[in-house]
Each structure stands twice: as structure tokens, then as C-alpha cells.
């Protein structure tokens, strides 16, 4: 199998895993074929910064031998995956000039977990500079491109993760999410992506953006694939101060149970005024689909978008400034101008504003936990704007500081609740759109169950980009 068939490249991870388990697919041939596809297509998609060809093949040979000897580690065994380049594994640039020569001494905890589960790591995926900002043609690293339209932004900052999965250049990928960086590229690329509960997946070995808001999670073609990946990644890590010492349940048991009698709360006030009408129409179709599947739909009150931004931004950027302060003082010229300005803006936030934002955050969380007494899930459009063309120059501070950008994922970074983006259709221009579904802390299984129920009735993942 020297060239992977298009059909195989776009199979869900779960289906490929089933074939590997039954020894109808060879991990070595699968990895060779995926590497060949990357070689053929990634020059246009730019999803990968680094491809670990030799190591991936060596790991695939080891997986194949192990499976042949009767040791099967589970659904990731022998499956080619990839990770965002702020996750430590070999060369780890974080999309920056500053870390262009950095080579990680040890893999991130999440990478070790994937490898323990038998996964083959194909390489490192494109991101925005230190997972913030907007990629442009002027960026130090070339920006990933959206497989559905190569002139369009694939979203970010897990941009390579979204692009690689959508283009059939990996069966799943690891992303990170501080304000939507898993869910925005999942939306833009027509795939599923979950930001788990805060502390569910260890962040050890991942460049921080905001200690308070950072999450690690999987991105894959389907909801079930994300569940399989999270199963391997989740768990307590005493070396991550934010890690949650909570038992990890099965994420696939009960995933087929449907959503009859579940109550879904829709916080219309968050997005109704700011959301692009085309996205809103597709979201409303998805809500009706959920109702048709047996869920009860209720309106719940919400923050407005400018309030969400005002609470989220000071925490995120001030945390980031604290992390980058020494480099900002000593070698500011090694950052892009836009990133440098973001970090400098973080130094302008008063301590009282930061602490008040933290208080607001806890009050929002408390309020939404109360709402979860009357609903089981929350559902919103993932975002309310379509991705634009990849720009020649950055948008600058005005965009970043705007308080009416229709970007809704941050609500669940503030609360720490698990939230997933699920594809729910396409615009007239042929670009994918998704909705976001969220639940109580550590209720990822419920998020997967609801997302899977929708996806089974509307399998948008079966459409593939015209590469």
C-alpha cells in the first residue's frame, strides 16, 4: 500500500482501529501510506511543521509486532496521530521565532499517554505564535491552510491540528484551548474537537498561555473518535498543579444511548445579536434536530458577549504576560509585533482588574452550576463568524481588544466545563459550520453522548474537502 486511498484516509479513527485490531490493516503500511499522503499534500495545506518519518515507522513496526504477538493495547494502538507544536516532543517551536531551535528534553505528559496507548505520532502541527493571535503570510512559520478552501484560515490556534485531520493527514490530533483554540479550528475545518474539563488532561510539557484557562484535548473526524482519544489522554497528573484527581469513566459506554429526555439549555443572549445569520440558521436547524431526537430545549439566561470578553481577556493575557515577561524584557524583538503588543497590553492590566475578573469568573461558574440543576447540557453556535482569507498582515490590537467579536467558546474556559464543537452543516460557500455542546464538570461522557446522537443523525463528517 504505497499510496493511501482517499477512502481510507478519511475513515474515522474508530473504523481504522477496528481493522488494525482484526489485523486486516497493518500499522506499518498505514503509517507509510499516511506519510506518503503528507508528502504529497502537505505542501499545500501546511499542517505540519515537523514530520517524524523514521520514528513513526519504527513505532509502527513495534506496534505491529506487539499486535501480532497478541498484545493489543486498545483503539489507538498502531494509529497515526499528530500533536500541536506547543506540546513538547522533539523540536517544539510554538510557532515562534523565539523558540525556533528549542528541542524538548522529554515529551509532554499527553504525548506519553498517547504513546502508552500505542499511538504513532506522525509529527508536530502548525499553531499561532505561542497559541495566540492571528496567523498571516508574514508570520515566522507559514500558516496552516483550510483544506476546504486553501486561501482561508483554518481557525486556531490549533490550526494544523484542524487542517491535518480535515485533510486526512492524521486520524486524530491533539490541540490546546484557552479561549476556543480547539473548537474554533474544529468549526472551521468541519471536524469534532473537545475541550475537556479543566484539569482532565495534564498540561505538563505544554507551553502555557494562561494557567487559569488552558486545556488540552483531542480533535478528530467524529465524536466517537474524540471519545477514544480522550480515554487515552485523561487522568490525574500530580506534576500538573491544575490536574484533577478525579476517576476517569468510560467515554464510550452509553454513547449510543441517545438524548431522549435530556434537557438542553440554550443561552440565546450570548450569541443571538452577534451571530452571523447563516451560522445562526444552521445552529437553529441543529437545535431542532436535537429536539427531534427527543431532547427538551429550554432557554437559559446568559452573559452578553462584551461581558464574556471583559472577564476572559484580562485573565488570559495577563497570565500570558507573566509567562513571557522575562523574554519580553530581554529580547522583545524576537516576538512578532502583534504578539509583543498583546503581551505588553497584559502588563497594563491592573491587579485589581485581574482579581475582579477572577471573581466574576467564579460567579459565572457558580451561576451556571445552578443552571445545571435544571438543564443537562448547554448548546451554542461554536462561534458566530466565518473564517476569513489568510491575511498578508495581522489584524492588530483592535481585533484582539474588540468586545463584540462573536466568539463564544471562552465561556467554557472561564467555567472549566467540558465543551465540544460538532459539525452541523455548510455555508453556501462550502465552508463548514459547527455548534458547541457543554455539560457539567467531568461530564464529558454526556457531551459525547449528545454529540454522537446528533452526528449519527447528521453525518456531516462523511463530506471531505476537495484536495
Amino acid at each position: 500500500m504505497s499510496t493511501i486511498s482517499q477512502e481510507l484516509a478519511y475513515l474515522p479513527l474508530a473504523d481504522v482501529a477496528d481493522q488494525v485490531r482484526q489485523r486486516r490493516l497493518s500499522p506499518v503500511e498505514l503509517t507509510q501510506a499516511m506519510l506518503s499522503r503528507i508528502s504529497r499534500l502537505d505542501g499545500r495545506v501546511n499542517a505540519y511543521y515537523t514530520v517524524f518519518e523514521e520514528q513513526a515507522l519504527a513505532d509502527a513496526r513495534a506496534a505491529e509486532a506487539e499486535i501480532a504477538s497478541g498484545i493489543y493495547r486498545g483503539p489507538l494502538h498502531g494509529i497515526p496521530l499528530a500533536v500541536k507544536d506547543i506540546v513538547a516532543l522533539g523540536p517544539t517551536t510554538a510557532g515562534s521565532r523565539l523558540r525556533k531551535d528549542y528541542v524538548a528534553e522529554a515529551p509532554a505528559a499527553v504525548v506519553s499517554k498517547l504513546k502508552d496507548a500505542g499511538a504513532i505520532i506522525l509529527g508536530k502541527l502548525a499553531t499561532y505564535e505561542f497559541a495566540l493571535g492571528t496567523p498571516t503570510l508574514a508570520s515566522y512559520q507559514p500558516p496552516a491552510r483550510n483544506p476546504w478552501d486553501l486561501n482561508v484560515d483554518p481557525g486556531g490556534s490549533s490550526s494544523g491540528s484542524g487542517a491535518a485531520v480535515a485533510a486526512g493527514l492524521a486520524f486524530g490530533a491533539i490541540g490546546t484551548d484557552t479561549g476556543g483554540s480547539i473548537r474554533w479550528p474544529a468549526f472551521c475545518c468541519g471536524i469534532a474537537g473537545i475541550k475537556p474539563t479543566y484539569g482532565r488532561v495534564s498540561r505538563r510539557g505544554v507551553f502555557p498561555l494562561s494557567w487559569n484557562l488552558d486545556h488540552i484535548g483531542p480533535m478528530a473526524r467524529t465524536v466517537l473518535d474524540c471519545a477514544l482519544m480522550l480515554q487515552a489522554c485523561a487522568g490525574y497528573d500530580p506534576l500538573d498543579g491544575g490536574s484533577a484527581d478525579e476517576p476517569v469513566p468510560s467515554y464510550t459506554e452509553g454513547i449510543e444511548d441517545g438524548i431522549a429526555e435530556l434537557r438542553i439549555g440554550v443561552p440565546w443572549g450570548l450569541f443571538q445579536e452577534s451571530c452571523d445569520p447563516a451560522i445562526l440558521a444552521l445552529f437553529e436547524n441543529a437545535v431542532e434536530r436535537m429536539r427531534g431526537l427527543g431532547a427538551e430545549i429550554a432557554s437559559v439566561e446568559s452573559l452578553r458577549i462584551h461581558e464574556l470578553t471583559a472577564a476572559h481577556w484580562p485573565i488570559m493575557v495577563t497570565d500570558a504576560t507573566a509567562y513571557h515577561l522575562a523574554d519580553l524584557q530581554q529580547r522583545p524583538e524576537e516576538y512578532s509585533r502583534t504578539f509583543r503588543l498583546y503581551m505588553a497590553a497584559g502588563a497594563l492590566v491592573e491587579a485589581t482588574t485581574y482579581l475582579q475578573a477572577q471573581r466574576v469568573r467564579e460567579q459565572i461558574r457558580g451561576h451556571m452550576l445552578q443552571q445545571l440543576g435544571s438543564v443537562d447540557l448547554f448548546m451554542t453556535p461554536t462561534v458566530g463568524m466565518m473564517p476569513g482569507p489568510i491575511r498578508a498582515e495581522p489584524l492588530g490590537l483592535d481585533f484582539m481588544l474588540s468586545d463584540n467579536v462573536p466568539f463564544y467558546p471562552g465561556l467554557f474556559n472561564l467555567t472549566g466545563f467540558p465543551a465540544m464543537s460538532v459539525p452541523c452543516g455548510f455555508t453556501e460557500a462550502g465552508l463548514p459550520v459547527g455548534f458547541q455542546i457543554a455539560a457539567a464538570p467531568f461530564a464529558e461522557a454526556l457531551v459525547f453522548r449528545a454529540g454522537h446522537a446528533y452526528e449519527r443523525s447528521q453525518p456531516w463528517w462523511q463530506r471531505h474537502p476537495p484536495l
Binding site: 505588553a344 497594563l348 460567579q363 464538570p441
Partner: protein, 76 residues
């Protein structure tokens, strides 16, 4: 480039944004070009507006640390 006056809060004070931005950057040990400083001065009022928004959202009667722990336990 002059920053001009910035009104923040609810009419509490009028100050020069440029002086504040330069002082805060100096305090943090961050040295930037005049062009970068000018850009920060231009957007500084936005940061002040967010402070007012966050302040307006707060329920001043609450104690967040206690609320957080109790709510979290109750959620499980």
C-alpha cells in the same frame, strides 16, 4: 504621539493615557519602540472600559472562594 485624556470608571478621574502606559511599561521592565507605545496608548481606554464592565458584573455580596468550593462540591 500624545495619548490624550482618558476618562475611566464613572467620571472618577481624567488622566493622561500616555503617562500611565509609559509608567506601567517601565515598572514591568518592558522597553518598546515609540511606535509600539503609541499603539498601546491608543487602545488603553479599551482596557479601562473592560475594568468598568467587570466591576459592573460583580455581585459584591459574594465571597468567591467559598462560593467556588461549595458549588463545586454540590455539582458532583
Amino acid at each position: 504621539v500624545t495619548g490624550g485624556p482618558t476618562r475611566y470608571g464613572k467620571g472618577e478621574s481624567t488622566v493622561d493615557s500616555r503617562q500611565i502606559v509609559e509608567a506601567k511599561l517601565a515598572e514591568a521592565g518592558i522597553r518598546l519602540s515609540a511606535e509600539d507605545v503609541a499603539e498601546l496608548v491608543r487602545v488603553y481606554p479599551k482596557l479601562q472600559m473592560w475594568r468598568a464592565t467587570v466591576q459592573g458584573l460583580l455581585d459584591q455580596e459574594s465571597e468567591p472562594a467559598v462560593t467556588f468550593g461549595a458549588a463545586r462540591r454540590g455539582a458532583r
